[in-house]
Structures are given as C-alpha cells and as structure tokens.
Amino acid sequence: MTPSASSGEAEPRIRVVGLTMAYGDFVIQHDLTFDVTRGEVFIIMGGSGCGKSTLLRHLIGLIRPSKGEVFFDGASFWGADDERRQLMLRRFGVLYQSGALWSSMTLAENVGLPLGEFTDLSPSQIREIASLKLSLVGLGGFEDFYPSEISGGMQKRAGLARAMALDPDILFLDEPSAGLDPVSSRLLDDLILQLRDSLKCTVVVVTHELASIFTIADDSVYLDAETRTMLVQGNPRTLLAESKNPKIHAFLTRGGQESERAPAGNRSGVLPGGTA
C-alpha cells in the first residue's frame, strides 16, 4: 500500500467544514461541520423543513454551498476541476425521495443505464447485473416493467437498486421510508444494514422516522430549524441517553411521550397512576 493510500484510509469518508446553505439571502442552515466515518450508517435528522434534504443535495453536488467545503476522502469536491468532480460523482449512489426512476425506461434499463455509460460490459452482462441488483431489493422478475406499472414502495426499492448499480462507495438515501408501510420500511432498514455490512458501503440517510433511526444509525447529526444550524453529532441512542438538549430529547422521544419505551414500561397493563 502506498503512503498516500494509507493516509487516505485515515481520512473520514465525508468531511463537511463550515457549510452554509442559502437561497439568495435566505440562510437555511449555517456553519455545519461534521465527519462521516467510512462504513457507517450516518443519519441526517431534524424536524420538517429544517433543510435535511437540502443538505443532501449539497453533499451530492447538486447545489453549490454558499460557504464552506465538502471533502470526500480528503479531496475537496468544489475545489476539484469538472473531470475530477465527475469521477467523484460516479462513486455515489443516490436514492431520491420519489425514487426518480426514468419513466421512459424499464426497471432493467434504469439500473443498467449507468453500467452502460461507465463500463465496457456487453448488453447481456449489463442485463445480468441489473437483474441481480433488482433481486437484491426483492424485485427479481420485474426487469421489464415500467416505473408507472409498479407501486410506490417498489419504485423506491428499484431506485435503491439503481443507486447500487455501480457498487458505490457512498449511498445517499433521501427519506427512504417515507410513504412505506411499517413492514416494508423495516425490510428497507434491514437492506441498508446488509449493504453496510456486506459491501462496506458508507450510507448517508435523511430521515425523521424514529424507528428507522434507532434501528440503523451508527452516527447522526441533528439540524435545528430555529437556530438554523446543527445542534449535535452522535449516535442517536447515546444522544437519547445523555443529551441534555431539550430539543433533541423531544425529537427522539416524539415530544417527550417516551413512546419508544412506553410499551415495555406498561407491560403489566397498569397505568402509571395505578388506577386500572
């Protein structure tokens, strides 16, 4: 291993330094600084409208930050020239909120398009890989369906298959469980964990689903809508146990109802007041 490669290993997968996001004069979030370690599931959480998805769009290079920098494996994204940036982009897989499948193509074509663009594989090989990726998300046999012919949950899974097409180093998932029923959402969580463990993928997830957060998160960052900046970084379970910040506590407990733990505490069926 060359020295430069080993120093690259020590770098965090993603490093965000002093990132400020703004539309014109309107600041959405300012001074975000955090690291995403390689091989972990990193959650971007926060209330509705705090700029979670906007942060994701900054991380995947769709929006240029108005201040600050994003580094991937130590290399600056916006400091790089166009060609290098394209190469960095190719190491990302992105699942959009709506799935964002290309509607004029079948699922196999959707998954196969990046392969056809960026590899020298033959069409039949591409087809095989596309089928494999679709089977991984439980959509084997749906290769020749168009996105409009399958359900929303299936579209999301197909979007995940497409995001995984080029075996990305980093998977970005924008609200993967939004609009899914609890069971499908749980299956998606399991899938994310498997991707992390088997492919050593770094996964960045934007979500506000508590169940999902506690199931998959290794690390997280909390964006606050009022102060317009991040309040804390850390594992959500640790945050729940240790954080003194009332906002984070309220977020992680659905406004202090302790609903996460309520079923365990009430197993006897006796209300706290003992009036049952």
Binding site: L87, F92, S103, S104, P114
Partner: protein, 384 residues
C-alpha cells in the same frame, strides 16, 4: 344601565344579548350557531360592549346554544379580541367545553411573523424586482444557448451521450405522428390562400395566377410557418411538459448525480429529432398546401388541372423551396430551444410544469414570428 341585543330578524336561528351584571356584563347566546345560519358580525357585540358602564368583566352564558361550528368559533374569537381591546377581563367558563378547548388549541402556537400578506411593495421596488427578473431570465437563456451549443458540438463529433432509441422515438413523435395535423392545417391554408387571391384575381380575369400565388406563398412562407406553429404547440409544449415533470420527479437530478449530462441525454435527442423533422414536414406541408390551392383553382375557378399544374411548375423555383427550407430549419432550432429551455428551467411543482408548457408555446411562437420577419428582410436584401 345599558344592554344590547341582536338585531337579527325574528326567524333567525340564533340570538344573543348583553345582560348587565354586578361587575360587568354577560353575553347570553342561544339557538343554532352554524355557518349557514348567516351569523352576526362581532362588531355589533363590540358596540354593545363599548357602551357597558357597570364594569369591565365579560362572562358568557351559552347554555342555550343548541348547535355550533367553526362559524361560532370565529364569532367568539372576534368578540374576545374586541373585549381585550376594550379592556375587559374575560371569563370563558360559560362557553361550551368544546369551544374552550378549540380556542386554547388555536392560541397554543402563537402566530408567526411570516412577512407575508403585508402591504404591497412600492412601485419603484416592484419595477426594480421585475427588471432584475428579466435580467435573470436573459442570463438563463444565454446559459442555455451556451450549453445547447456545446452539446450540439459534442454530437457533431460523435461524443455526445444519449440513447439512439430516444432519438428515434423523438423523430417519430416530431415527424410521422405530426403528419395528420400538418396535412389538415396546410391543406386548409392552401385553400384559404387560393380563395383570398381568387376574389382579387377574378376581377382581372387572371384566375390562372392562383397557381403562382399559392405555390410561391406556400413554398416561401406559409409551409414553414404553419408547420412551425403546429410544432411549437404540439412538440415544443410536450418537450417543456416532459422535462418539467422530470424536474419535479428528480429524474434530472438523478442523471446529474450519476455523471450523465441531462443536457446531452434528454435535451439533445429532442432537439435533434425536431430539427431533423422540420424540413421534411415543411416539404410535406408545401405539397399539401399546393394541393389545397388546386382544389379551389380547379374545382371553383374552372382553371384546368393541366394548366394549373404547368403554372405551378413555372412559378416556383428551387430557390423558393430553399428559402422555405432554410426558414424551417431555423424554426426547428428555435422551437426546440424554447421547449427544452422552459422545461429545464421549470420549477418543482405541477403548477410550474403548466407554466413551463404555456411559456414554451408563447416563447416558441414569438421566436418564429420574429425570426421570420428578420429572415424576410435578409432575403430581400440579398435578393434571395
């Protein structure tokens, strides 16, 4: 002692009156307080409250209210506001329990100052804002033209990334699928040209020149123009709507983050399809238009079919056809640019997609007419 009461007609389902009490006043409410009952304005109560002299305490008595809905809530809210400004202390105890809970809920989150709905900006500010947005629009257009040029240059050297299937689909959509409507419109345009000319030419016994008029009119001007206007409404709008919807669905973002240029992948096949098909459609429109003229010439003006045919052949030169074809290519480029540009610039909502489609048609037609005017002058100057 003062007391106020509702001035409602006797058949009203609701009733209120203000009863003086020891330290203030009691607002007694009764009957059915629903929105469809034409409820009273709270200002009437406000007048009554203003005249109260016994004290500054307001109580409610709503025991006889038989039914209520949001209309009642709004009435009560307004009464509470009025009471507050008049310096009353309010005891809500007499209100129905549901009303009290809803009032608390409405007051739980204070109204936020969202800076909306204030006074409109002064004229100069609005003028400045709209000038800036015109500038921004011009800038976006120039950016788009630049990207389009780069993409076309890539395509010219065979380095552009798009799927051949997409190009073929677009060629079919902008070509063969448009033949029906182009036939109908250009046939009728040929017919109209012949009619309008016939009335004038008949006065000189020069009906045979209808053939010249229709042939030259279609070849130089109307064929390209009508085909272009049809395509602006049909294909330009479709491009804007398709690309706009893709923007809403994040399909365009998905391409960008995959390192595939949406410009080459989506815009290029559409532009090429339309630019390739426009001259063909124009030739077709010319022929059908001349046929339309012939129907009037032969059928109505009794010009023989053979003389009409010969006159047409003599009248139109290759230069006339070329003049129309050059126009058609330029129109094709402009319609494709208008459609794709509006689509790519579309906002992220369904309303924005509608706007994009409308604006694509308007922009396309403006482009067509303006460039046609310029080309006509240029042709005249160089004697084409």
């Amino acid at each position: 002692m003062t007391s106020a009461t509702s001035t409602a007609p006797l058949n009203a389902s609701w009733h209120w009156n203000l009863d003086p009490s020891a330290d203030g006043v009691i607002l007694r409410l009764s009957g059915s307080w629903r929105m469809q009952n034409d409820l009273p304005a709270a200002s009437e109560v406000e007048h009554g409250l203003g005249a109260v002299s016994t004290g500054r305490r307001l109580r409610f008595d709503a025991r006889e209210v038989t039914a209520w809905d949001s209309g009642f809530l709004v009435f009560i809210l307004n009464v509470l506001d009025a009471a507050k400004t008049l310096g009353f202390t309010v005891d809500r105890g007499g209100l129905p329990e549901g009303v009290r809970k809803l009032l608390d809920l409405a007051a739980a989150v204070p109204e936020r100052d969202t800076k909306r709905g204030g006074a409109p900006d002064p004229f100069v500010t609005r003028l400045g804002k709209s000038s800036l947005s015109v500038l921004a629009g011009a800038r976006a257009m120039i950016t788009f033209l630049g990207e389009a040029t780069v993409a076309l240059a890539h395509a010219a050297v065979g380095r552009a990334r798009f799927r051949r299937v997409d190009l073929m689909l677009n060629i079919q959509e902008a070509g063969a699928s448009a033949l029906g409507i182009v036939s109908l419109i250009s046939f009728l345009i040929g017919l109209i040209l012949a009619f309008v000319g016939a009335i004038q030419l008949r006065q000189f016994g020069a009906q045979i020149y209808i053939a010249d008029l229709v042939a030259i009119g279609m070849a130089r001007e109307m064929g390209a123009m009508m085909a272009a206007i049809i395509m602006a409404g049909r294909t330009g709008a479709a491009y804007a709507a398709q690309l706009g919807t893709m923007r809403v669905n994040e399909e365009i973002d998905a391409l960008s983050t995959m390192g595939i240029s949406p410009f080459e992948f989506l815009v290029l096949p559409r532009m090429l399809g339309l630019i390739l098909m426009m001259p063909l459609l124009t030739i077709y429109a010319n022929l059908v238009g001349i046929l339309g003229g012939a129907v009037v010439g032969v059928g109505m003006l009794k010009v023989g079919l053979i003389p009409y045919w010969n006159h047409t052949l003599n009248a139109v030169t290759l230069a006339d056809f070329a003049a129309g074809l050059i126009k058609s290519v330029i129109f094709g480029v402009l319609i494709a640019i208008a459609g794709c540009m509006r689509g790519m610039q579309s906002g992220r909502s369904s309303a924005a997609v509608g706007l994009a489609a409308t604006s694509a048609v308007v922009t396309g037609i403006v482009f067509i007419i303006v460039s046609d005017a310029i080309l006509t002058v240029v042709y005249d100057a160089i004697g084409f």
